[in-house]
Symmetry: C2
Subunit: 210 residues, 2 copies
Amino acid sequence: MKSKESNTTLDPSTEEKIKNAARVMFTQKGYAATRTRDIAQEAGINLALLNYYFRSKEKLFDLIMLESMQGFIQSISGVLNDEGTSLQEKIRTLVSNYIDMLTLQPNLPLFVLSELRNHPHELISKLDFKEKLIRSHFFVQIQQAIIEGKIPPMHPLHFIMNIMGMIIFPFVGSPIIKNIGNLDQSSFNELMQQRKILIPEWIFSMMNLK
Amino acid sequence: MKSKESNTTLDPSTEEKIKNAARVMFTQKGYAATRTRDIAQEAGINLALLNYYFRSKEKLFDLIMLESMQGFIQSISGVLNDEGTSLQEKIRTLVSNYIDMLTLQPNLPLFVLSELRNHPHELISKLDFKEKLIRSHFFVQIQQAIIEGKIPPMHPLHFIMNIMGMIIFPFVGSPIIKNIGNLDQSSFNELMQQRKILIPEWIFSMMNLK
DNA sequence: GTCTATATACGGATAGAC
DNA sequence: GTCTATCCGTATATAGAC
């Protein structure tokens, strides 16, 4: 008899197939516009199975959302809390990892941000992203740099917003960007790769750091 | 008999009431999650009237979307094409106007970007935003500055992405930002006001301009 | 133009056979 | 576990009275 955990790569379990299909559809079209029938078809299974495994569309969605955000938080918290790296190194690593991740999952941020608008409270408080960020070594380093006069004195949120904005926006607005620049997918990705180097430089220059 | 055009301010026509309600609902919850009944209720009229005036939910949506984007493009094209202002002045004005607009309509960008993902082609090509931007005096000034060596040589899109990212992202991600910074609406708006000054400075510093 | 009542379609969820 | 068939609520849209 084959164990439930053995076939992680070769033949995904039905449950995994549904979750993968759901992730694709939800991130592409959002919760309301996604039909459970579409998910079932994409997964190559029957509609009834979806409810058999996950009870309801909403429960399935909540699970996908939770896993997406947990994965994201986990992927950056290591960088943020590495006490052996400078602020500059952290920013470089963060930008690079982030861009690589978004290149693989370009629809993720728009999905998260859209759904967050409609279900604002639950997930944000459940994941407690705020505490994780504020208590991070990264955040402490920013505040310390301000105190020591190495960085212009201003609300640390401005730096967070700038970094996130410069990284995320091109992906969120990719239809517009591609249109303006006459870019196909590969030249768009090339531009994003350039930004791994450029964004940290810009951040440092606006911080008066080097 | 009262003319159709006379009551623009005092008592909006039924058609206007429906459009206003639709704009609010669509931008808040997106196309798929918005119910025509909600729009009718918000407008204080009956559901049947919505179809009487606009035939269908989709036609109403297309109209709202078109008008929103036209309004946006018109509001910035004046600034972009003012031949009497320097690149720096244009950036300052652009940032300031944009932040004021988004403070009044904070849900607009997420709405536009979300719906653009699902109906990518039609509107983008219809509005021809690309041509309007590329042929603008603003764009020419950027390219000229690069040629003259005043700005580091790189794809002009990077500047567009940075400006837009720094302006738009905080609004798109406002639930996260507010949560991280423990901000209520008014302190969030205050931060945005600060950015009217800060963003142009950052842009100039990354351009090596002054 | 505006309403009430209703036709019609669609989507989420379940019953029940295998 | 997986399928087919179906129930049932809800949402869009229309018919028809006023």
